[in-house]
């Protein structure tokens, strides 16, 4: 218990810290509200009900993702990571547009070499230490949901993630 740090930062809180806390609170609320599944209420129904109630907050979260600048190192950090977590319990809506999905795909492209690496000798403990599962898995789930609902978004993700045709041709020559 002594090792725990103080909860409050010194000085005035910059907006980014308040946004991060608001996203964490949003995640808690969504987690509880969408887990009350029973015979009458499916998870999908509860997610839609929650999304209707928190429509304005979700709009802000999507705007935040669209506008946030990506850092080449430590890409999946606050508040982007918290925004991705917040979307985990929210159903797909047309608000998940090209800008949002494109930014999330770029984040994945930047985060994978940083968190997973390409060293064949790397063991699972090293990956755990970097918390690759905790950060990349939610991002993949959100991207998968977007891809499953919209063909045009699927095309954007494919274009960014899959090898280019010319590259495949060069590889096949060898």
């Amino acid at each position: 218990m002594q090792n725990k740090q103080s909860t409050t930062p010194p000085g005035v809180s910059p907006p980014q810290m308040i946004i991060t806390e608001a996203l964490k609170l949003f995640f808690n609320l969504a987690l509880v509200e969408t887990s009350k599944v029973d015979e009458e209420n499916s998870e999908e129904f509860l997610q839609k009900k929650f999304a209707n109630k928190f429509e304005q907050s979700i709009f802000c979260i999507l705007n935040l993702i669209r506008d946030i600048p990506l850092s080449p190192t430590n890409t999946l950090s606050s508040p982007l990571l918290n925004a991705i977590h917040a979307l985990l319990h929210v159903p797909y809506t047309p608000g998940w547009d090209k800008g949002v999905v494109s930014k999330l795909t770029d984040a994945l492209i930047l985060a994978v070499p940083d968190l997973v690496g390409d060293d064949p000798e790397e063991d699972i403990d090293q990956l755990r230490e970097r918390k690759a599962d905790d950060t990349i898995a939610p991002l993949l789930l959100v991207l998968r949901r977007a891809a499953a609902h919209d063909q045009s978004l699927r095309n954007i993700i494919a274009k960014k993630l899959l090898p280019q045709e010319r590259f495949v041709y060069c590889v096949s020559l060898f």
Partner: protein
């Protein structure tokens, strides 16, 4: 906790910001983080509506808003009844939207301020 809630001006129903109330909010947030049982005392002191009310206020500082959101985050961990009360009775959806809107707007201005500060430092 009762004393802290009173010092934070959360017991009267509407939060009044002062130097001491902000310090009391910091103490409440630290208590909730370090000792989970204090969540019961916080709710028994009927501080939840006033704390949630801070989200709707534009006349309080960023620190008060930050601490209110942080306190609400701590009290909603593993407490479905608190979450239900916030969502169904206290309209936290609107409060959270208000905070998100105003802070996202501030955030978009923040890098400009930072760039100007760096420029001044460089010139000095």
């Amino acid at each position: 906790m009762k004393t802290l809630v009173m010092a934070a001006n959360l017991s009267s129903g509407q939060y009044k910001e002062s130097l001491s109330s902000v310090e009391a909010l910091k103490c409440i947030a630290n208590s909730l983080l370090l000792v989970s049982a204090t969540k019961d005392y916080f709710e028994e002191s009927n501080a939840l509506p006033a704390c949630n009310g801070i989200l709707f206020r534009s006349d309080v500082s960023g620190m008060s808003r930050f601490l209110a959101v942080r306190i609400l985050f701590f009290v909603t961990i593993d407490r479905p009844s608190t979450v239900a009360s916030l969502v169904d009775n206290l309209d936290i959806a609107s409060g959270l939207a208000q905070v998100s809107y105003s802070e996202c707007a501030r955030e978009s201005r923040y890098p400009i301020k930072l760039t100007r500060t760096i420029l001044i430092v460089y010139r000095l």
